[in-house]
Amino acid sequence: MSRIAPPKSAPVSKRDPRTGVVQSQDDVCPVCKSARYMNPSLRFLVNPECYHKMFREQTFEDIKVEREVDIRKKVGATFNRREEDFETLLAFNDYLNDVEDITFNLINGIDLEETNKKFETYTRAHGKEIEENAQMAVQERQSFSAAQKLERQQARERREAARREEEEEKREVEENRRDVLNRLASGADAETVAKEGQRVQLKKRMDRQAATERQRQLQAAEDAHSERSSKFVIKGLKTKQKPEPEAPIDPFDGLRLVDSYFTLQDDYIWEGIQEARKDVKQTAGGYDVGDYAHRSLVAAFSGLGIFVADEITQRDQLAQNAGVVSEDVGLKDAKMIHAA
């Protein structure tokens, strides 16, 4: 159909209450020229190819808008990446910009060839991603609608429960009054009857409150355990954390031996060291003779600053204060002093 639709002149149009489609009185079918005047229930469909009122339900008054909406839908179906897929805001905005370029070109018919090529390359390159994203969107929608339904149901139940409670209360009050009257009528003492009545009422109210409290707690516990995700889903840029490069393994886990009484020299003129350096039997295996020197010097000073007598006395006193009893280790001959 290549006929241009008649321009809408007069705003003699009203919305069809059923379908919500805008109708104007002088809508005319191009083929058979039957006007709406003749046939009020005439529905005009739009052909998506040329956007003439032919085949599909038109949802917007202006067909240009309709066309644009369709184009956007198509583009959106392909370029469906989200903000969470991007690491930086700049990247996301760039992406949006590109998409918008393509859309604009398609709508206004600029560089159609190039744009279509871009479109196709993107589709081919990210086919799988597009599918995944589409699936995710579908799932989200489902879960969202399910959540909403659940909420509505709960609200309904709560309302029901509240109404029921009110009824119960009213009924009880009535009963109580009737009961009191009966008892008065049958000749009981007025005061005692009144007091009893009050007590019974109070008790009933307390019980009911306790019951509701318990019910609420149960519900809260259930909610806590339910698998419903949190009500708020924060959308935003995906925070990608770069994995820290693993530090080289430290076999001593931070312990370091410090020579505090001496500095290791490069060479010692003592003949033992000198001979060992030349001795093939010692050095062939890769043994460093300086190690021996270091070890000897560490041994020379290890314990120099430790005053055994004082420290042992201190330790014994502490042990005594703590009330440690010397254990019998079970040897026949001697009691070992527990030197812990």
Binding site: G303, G305, D333
Partner: protein
């Protein structure tokens, strides 16, 4: 998160520091307690003993604490000579002596006479210090049955609380020697936290050191004429080293030095006795003059040196005295530990008494054989064990 350990922290992790270091009071208390325990035990087995020494019923003729100590010391010396006889390296000697000393902190000679223990201790030491000799060879060379050597071993291990490491001063002494020689050569300039004038100044100071006192143990004496050269200083250092080494070999092992001081302090004390000016000079380069540990360290070293110097070879029991004491010991020792070999064998077998265990084993074997035979029988094994 780095944690810095210095050499003192390393020593604090050793079992020698944690379990086998005492103050003089706690050492005395421990020994006294051990001895008292042995005496009370002795009064229990006294009436059973057939020896004539017990006729008056009281434990008068037991060895007293002093005699026990001297007997143990005698055997420390014996351990040393035996180790030399085997020509083992000096760590074995020190380790064995320490094992014996530690053993007799918690046990008394009244229960385990040292004569039966010291061979085991020496064997254990040679295994620990990586100069292992096979048991048969060892037993042959000291003309003892191999069982006797092995029998007290577990007891010894228990008494040592299974800590076999003995920190010794010998390697440290070599380290000090190395450093002193380098100092004399003028190679050591900077030392941590200590103000030195530089390598040359230190060397000059060494050359100008005063001569060791007459009472010093070193063999070195200053040349009468001519100035001292670095070669002379090196001779002096070597002489001091060998003198210190002799001290460490002897008095250090035969006194309580290892219990009361750390190996570092022991070796510096020995060096102090050998050549006092040299040691003070060395310590001057090691400990800054204003550090608050310095006076304390110096007093500790002086105390240790006193302990080492106060020992003399004449303290050790002579052969006759030892024999006399052992005779006395024979009369008052614990009879239940007399047969160490037997009790060791029983313990190994894990049985209560030898004969009962054998009976049971035989019965079991017979029952098993019978069951097997019945299985081959034409009509199968008997039901319920009855015919």
């Amino acid at each position: 998160m780095t944690q810095h350990l210095n050499e003192d922290d390393l020593y604090r992790t050793s079992s020698q520091y944690r379990l086998w270091s005492f103050s003089p009071e706690s050492l005395a208390t421990l020994r006294r307690k051990t001895h008292e325990l042995a005496i009370t035990r002795a009064s229990q087995y006294a009436p059973k003993s057939k020896s004539s020494l017990w006729q008056d019923g009281t434990a008068v003729d037991c060895l007293n604490a002093e005699e026990c100590l001297r007997l143990v010391q005698r055997y420390l010396d014996q351990v040393r000579t035996t180790s030399d006889h085997f020509k083992w390296p000096v760590p074995v000697k020190a380790t064995a002596a320490q094992y014996l000393a530690r053993f007799y902190l918690s046990n008394s000679p009244l229960t385990y006479p040292p004569k039966e223990i010291y061979k085991t201790v020496l064997f254990l030491a040679c295994k620990t210090e990586a100069t292992h000799m096979t048991l048969s060879e060892y037993a042959r060379r000291i003309s003892t049955p191999a069982d006797e050597v092995l029998a007290p071993e577990y007891k010894v291990m228990q008494a040592l609380r299974f800590t076999l490491d003995v920190r010794q001063p010998y390697r440290g002494l070599k380290g000090v020697l190395m450093e002193l020689l380098n100092l004399a050569e003028g190679r050591v300039g900077e030392v941590e936290c200590v103000e030195t004038g530089g390598a040359k100044a230190l060397q000059a100071e060494m050359l100008a050191l005063e001569v060791p006192a007459r009472t010093a143990q070193t063999m070195w004496s200053a040349k009468a004429a001519g100035k001292i050269e670095s070669k002379d200083v090196m001779d002096r250092i070597n002489a001091a080293y060998s003198a210190a080494r002799t001290i460490l070999d002897g008095p250090a092992l035969l006194t309580d030095a290892y219990f009361l001081f750390t190996p570092s302090q022991i070796l510096l004390a020995a060096l102090h006795l050998a050549d006092e000016p040299l040691t003070s000079f060395y310590l001057r380069t090691k400990l800054p003059l204003d550090s608050d540990l310095r006076p304390k360290i110096l007093t500790t070293i002086a105390a240790c040196a006193e302990l080492l110097a106060s020992f003399s070879g004449s303290h050790i029991l002579s052969k006759d005295e030892r024999a006399a004491l052992e005779q006395k010991l024979e009369g008052c020792r614990d009879p239940s530990t007399r047969d160490l070999v037997g009790s060791h064998a029983v313990a190994k077998r894990g049985g209560d008494g030898g004969e009962e265990a054998e009976e049971k084993a035989r019965k079991k074997k017979a029952a098993r054989e019978k069951h097997l035979k019945e299985g081959d029988d034409l009509f199968g094994p008997s039901l319920n064990g009855k015919g």
